[in-house]
Symmetry: C2
Subunit: 135 residues, 2 copies
DNA sequence: ACCATATAAGTGTAAATTACACTTAACAGT
DNA sequence: ACTGTTAAGTGTAATTTACACTTATATGGT
């Protein structure tokens, strides 16, 4: 029954959405076979502070169900057993399609900042842009 | 009881998350006082295809509850009444904090693509990078 | 022996968000 | 009267996220 932050202004930049996390996970697995704990560490290094580790494990299990990654237990090294993930061929294709999507996000962000930085446009005819209805 | 696309690879790039939509809404209202329908049209022009119009109206009502935007009915023009939104001072501050957050997203995307494009690194010592465990 | 810490992989679940379908209302044109 | 466009919603199942908690192996300190 507790209330969470929602969209209220006090705090911002919640955990990056799955749409960001998934392509990063796949990208890392393209170059190395890694286990969840390592993947999470890498994500944090890449800027994903405040990610929920539990949910990352869930995302990995889901990606495996979708046959985009595969796993096998590694009991060879010391410490608790690790589930080593690797990217499947389907996963590589999926990563490619994600890259295309992220390019769209990138263009949107560029658009945002190009508009955002137009703070003080042409003060001479301000009436054209001043607050009011547009035709 | 119907199943939705989930994270399965067949289709990608779902509607951009609220985290993207909100700053764009606020940015538009910084320069013009607009009503929901216009804001939605602008979003679509900016690349937000497949947004849910109903949810945008809900987001606007929520932003108003949070005192980030304010509205008033406009019955002057023909057609159905419009709810004209304008950005509050708190909303401007919120937009600024969102801009900072979006910069972080931008850096992440840059990182993604710089890693992603490193497709075929130094084939001479491929064994260093070939699939296998990292130390 | 006992405790704390680090590593590793989870589970439980309330709250928030998203997707998809549907509704209401004003006005314009045929 | 019916169709189309503009405008602003509501209902709600499915999905995602946030926060709390659990299990287990091994190491180092007291």
């Amino acid at each position: 029954m507790k209330k969470r932050s929602s969209s209220s202004p006090e705090q911002n930049f919640p955990g990056a959405p799955k749409q960001f996390v998934v392509p990063f996970l796949l990208l890392q697995l393209r170059d190395f076979n890694l286990h969840g704990y390592q993947l999470i560490e890498q994500l944090i290094k890449l800027g994903f502070h405040s990610i929920d580790r539990g949910n990352i494990y869930r995302i990995l299990r889901q990606l495996e169900k979708d046959h985009l990654i595969s796993s096998q237990w590694d009991t060879s090294s010391e410490g608790p057993a690790r589930r080593i993930y690797s990217l499947t061929e389907a996963g590589e294709a999926y990563l490619q399609s994600w890259a295309a999507s992220l390019e769209l996000y990138q263009h949107m962000l560029e658009t945002f900042f190009s508009l955002y930085k137009k703070m003080f446009v042409s003060p001479s005819n301000e009436n054209e842009y001043s607050k009011g209805e547009r035709s």
